[in-house]
């Protein structure tokens, strides 16, 4: 049992006095744990073993319990810069508590008992960091405190801890623990704060919802060092370096390019990257595009030390993909900026590797989480880049020769650019050089794309390639069918050689023979039927002289049918595009 004896109602009055309880002296006997059960404590009533009379520390402040500043890391100045979300070692410093025994002959040297002190609480001033320790499974924000996890919000953070005495000490005379003075206040005292700089270097997402388009600006991508000043009041501004990693597909879509002589920065030729910093230099930036062994390397850096800087990116390809990084030597070593999705609530882009969460240290252009080079926002981003899966009933060969990525990257058709649908019907390009039209070709089940502007030969490549600017995720060369007015041998209203499994597939139409065979009211219709017939051949269909008569592929189609047969032999299911 522990009893309390009031010695005096007034203290010495040497120090500012909080409204405290009356001074206390505590008489101690062997530790309560040594008490025998049922034995009551008795007041001393004569000479006997030394009784400790612990004096209230408030009258002897130099013996009062004292918390210490939090130690951060190795105690160096550099250790006081902690990146958001990073961990740093913390320790309570050297808190101490001496209690003095007022009774003569105390067994403690000089009557001073050295109390242990326990850290009762850690605090970061509401910064929302976490104190904890590491276990094999990772950081645990609880229990024994060895580390501090910096909050995700940059700023100056004051770290403190509250300590309380463990009012027991080992009596040198007996070797037994004795109760010492329980320092006031009963829940301990706070140490003075250690202020650290919780910083971060981020780059913003400049491409939310972005789908690459020629000559589109992407951004801004804002790089930011926070806070602006550190715990010493020094500026955190640094030079910031940007590097743009970009695809370099030839041209700006599958079948067009833009090149100047002399070369201009926004050309789209071979080796030109699809994403570039704009020229002339953006304000406050030096932009440097280097022809690096035939490939362009795009860099930009701030002309001064800054805490914020924004860059814009020019997109020069409908299938562009790349990343933007920002680097700054914030604290002694180059640091990559983390991708910050939102300031409020502060949200970073992270990803998982082997169960570990990592920060994305680049800004994607465009967003492509499934890494198939196709913008996630594209409505047909539902497979691999090299997919060529369109199927048409029982057609013997899947696909149309253009991969998902290529159909996403798109084509120019008579000038305007268009993307295709890699999941629906098969696409066929018809190069209608003389404006014949394509008749009933669509009845085959294909999606025909008719290039009817001879003045734009740049929309197809050598041998009538439709993907001359192929690169990423290319499966094969795919050609268009050239449709040309020609002089055929007598009896051949049209003929097609080679077909869509070889370069230069060409359908030659002899309009004069067609017009000779049919009366004027039917001539236009007949041209359409013959064109459809020949385009069927281009799609590797054979004509037939048995089976379904009402079929464009009937030989000869002089009865002017307008459909491809579904059976006998079923031309609609027999064609293939390569």
């Amino acid at each position: 049992m522990v009893g309390w004896l009031v010695l005096s109602a007034d203290g010495p009055g040497l120090w500012p006095q909080p409204p405290v309880d009356p001074p206390r002296v505590i008489y101690t006997r062997p530790a309560p744990c040594e008490d025998e059960e049922g034995q009551e404590a008795q007041a001393p009533d004569g000479p006997g073993p030394h009784e400790h009379v612990w004096v209230d520390d408030q009258y002897f402040p130099w013996f009062d319990m004292q918390a210490a500043c939090v130690n951060v890391g190795d105690g160096s100045e550099a250790a006081r810069y902690v990146r958001c979300g990073d961990y740093v070692e913390v320790s309570p410093g050297s808190p101490l508590d001496w209690d003095i025994c007022g009774n003569e002959g105390c067994s403690f040297p000089g009557g001073l008992a050295d109390n242990a002190v326990s850290v009762e609480q850690w605090d970061d001033g509401g910064a929302e960091g976490q104190f904890g320790h590491f276990e094999p499974t990772g950081f645990v924000a609880d229990g024994y405190i060895t580390h501090y996890k910096a909050p995700m919000q940059p700023g100056l953070v004051s770290l403190q801890n509250r300590v309380d005495d463990i009012h027991y000490a080992e009596d040198p005379a007996t070797g037994q623990p004795v109760q010492t003075f329980d320092d006031f206040p009963p829940d301990g005292v706070w140490g003075s704060a250690t202020t650290i700089t919780v910083w971060d270097f981020t780059i913003s997402d400049g491409a939310p919802g972005f789908r690459p388009v020629l000559d589109a600006w992407v951004g801004p991508f804002g790089a930011k060092i926070e806070p602006a000043t550190d715990h010493n009041g020094q500026s955190m501004a640094r030079p910031i370096y940007f590097e743009l990693f970009s695809s370099a597909e030839p041209g700006y879509c599958l079948n067009r390019t833009r090149e100047h002589d002399p070369h201009e920065w926004n050309d789209t030729g071979l080796g030109d990257t699809d994403l570039k910093f704009s020229f002339p230099d953006q304000q406050g930036l030096t932009v440097h595009s280097t022809d690096f062994n035939g490939w362009w390397r795009n860099e930009a850096w701030t002309n001064e030390e800054v805490t914020t800087c924004a860059v814009d990116i020019m997109c020069l390809d409908y299938g562009a993909f790349g990343t933007l990084t920002a680097t700054a030597t914030v604290i002694g070593y180059p640091t990559a900026a983390r991708l910050l999705l939102s300031d409020n609530p502060r949200t970073y882009s992270t990803y998982q590797v082997n169960g570990q969460t990592l920060y994305r240290e680049y800004a994607p252009i465009p967003w492509d989480v499934d890494a198939n080079y196709i913008a996630d926002v594209w409505m047909r981003n539902s497979g691999n880049a090299a997919d060529d899966e369109e199927d048409e009933g029982q057609c013997p060969v899947k696909g149309d020769g253009f991969t998902r990525y290529e159909e996403y990257r798109g084509f120019c058709v008579n000038g305007p650019w268009t993307e295709l649908d890699p999941d629906a019907h098969k696409d066929v390009f018809v190069l209608d050089w003389n404006g014949l039209g394509i008749g009933d070709f669509a009845a085959l089940g294909v999606v025909p794309h008719r290039l009817y502007v001879p003045q734009q030969p740049a929309e197809f490549g050598p041998d009538y390639q439709m993907n001359p600017n192929r690169g990423t995720a290319n499966k094969q060369l795919q050609h268009g069918v050239m449709l040309v007015v020609w002089v055929n041998d007598p009896g051949y209203l049209g003929y097609t050689v080679p077909r869509l499994n070889a370069p230069k597939p060409t359908s030659r139409i002899d309009v004069v023979q067609i017009q000779g065979l049919f009366p004027p009211p039917q001539q236009q219709e007949a041209v359409g039927v013959i064109v459809s017939h020949e385009l069927g051949h281009a799609c590797n269909l054979e004509h037939h002289r048995t089976g379904t008569f009402d079929c464009i592929m009937w030989d000869p189609p002089t009865h002017l049918p307008h459909a491809y047969c579904s059976e006998n032999p079923g031309c609609r299911m027999l064609w293939r595009l390569y």
Binding site: N434, P454, P457, Y464, M482, D489, P490, T506, L517, P519
Partner: protein, 278 residues
């Protein structure tokens, strides 16, 4: 269509029209060919594509006469303008093809069929089928007024020159052709030492000699039995005319007569070519 060799449809009349062709027979692609010829061929093709058929005909006729089946590779830009064909385009063109096309263009349908049938025989070994596109085309275009169109005669893969006068004559429902024009394409050389009233044909294979005399139905032959024609040869404008179908029969050939378009195709077996043609 194989018909009796010496009977023509009674409705046909012997109306002969001519074109501006020179008076020689066409030949296989054996003649000399120059860069100028290629240019002429390309120009003829351009005219055809531009529907300028008479200009095309004037250019292609000499080429079709000397090397009708010669294949010449014509290319965009180099030979043909890009307004007509795309860059990179190239194709083989034969004079005979352009000739047929031009004849169709100017409405010479029997001659168009004649050349078409010669092409058919050259490429497929058979004359035009009755339902072939050229015949259907010609029949549709000619309609019932067949007499307005020239007679035409093909022998195997060649044809009687459309410009020869008198090349073809209908008389007594029989098609007569100038023997001197016909002979080279039967593998004979014509000997006219005694004038056009008596022509002897000579060649290496049997029959090695055939003697045609004006007014006489009998054809004296060497190597085979003599042959009697149903129609005696006659001279017209100083030229000995013989019944074409009967001569073909003499040489054991086939006769295909297309009365709707007044065109005859003689298929003469194993006609040896001239040395230069081989």
């Amino acid at each position: 269509m194989t018909i009796a060799p010496n009977r023509l449809t009674s409705t046909l009349l012997a109306v002969v029209t001519t074109t501006g062709f020179a008076t020689v027979w066409s030949a296989e692609d054996v003649g000399p060919w120059s860069a100028d010829d290629t240019r002429m061929l390309a120009s003829a093709l351009v005219h055809c594509l531009d529907r300028e058929y008479r200009e095309a005909l004037a250019l292609v006729a000499p080429l079709a006469r000397t090397a009708p089946f010669r294949k010449e590779l014509l290319s965009a830009s180099a030979d043909l303008p890009l307004r007509l064909v795309p860059p990179g385009f190239q194709d083989q063109v034969r004079p005979v093809t352009l000739l047929a096309h031009a004849l169709l263009g100017i409405g010479q349908y029997s001659q168009y069929c004649c050349v078409s049938s010669a092409i058919s025989y050259h490429d497929k070994g058979a004359p035009l089928a009755p339902e072939s596109v050229p015949l259907l085309t010609a029949k549709r275009q000619v309609g019932g007024d067949v007499r307005a169109y020239a007679l035409a005669l093909a022998v195997n893969d060649l044809w009687v020159d459309f410009d020869f006068t008198p090349a073809l004559v209908l008389r007594e429902q029989c098609l007569f052709v100038a023997l001197a024009q016909l002979a080279p394409h039967l593998g004979f050389e014509a000997e006219t030492a005694k004038g056009q009233t008596r022509i002897e044909l000579r060649r290496q294979q049997a029959p090695t000699r055939l003697l045609f005399v004006e007014g006489k139905k009998e054809v004296r032959a060497q190597g085979v039995e003599s042959f009697t024609l149903e129609h005696a040869p006659f001279t017209l404008e100083g030229v000995l005319m013989v019944p074409a179908a009967e001569v073909a029969k003499l040489l054991k050939g086939e006769v295909h007569w297309y009365p709707e378009v007044r065109f005859m195709h003689l298929i003469i077996p194993k006609v040896p070519g001239k040395p230069a043609e081989q």
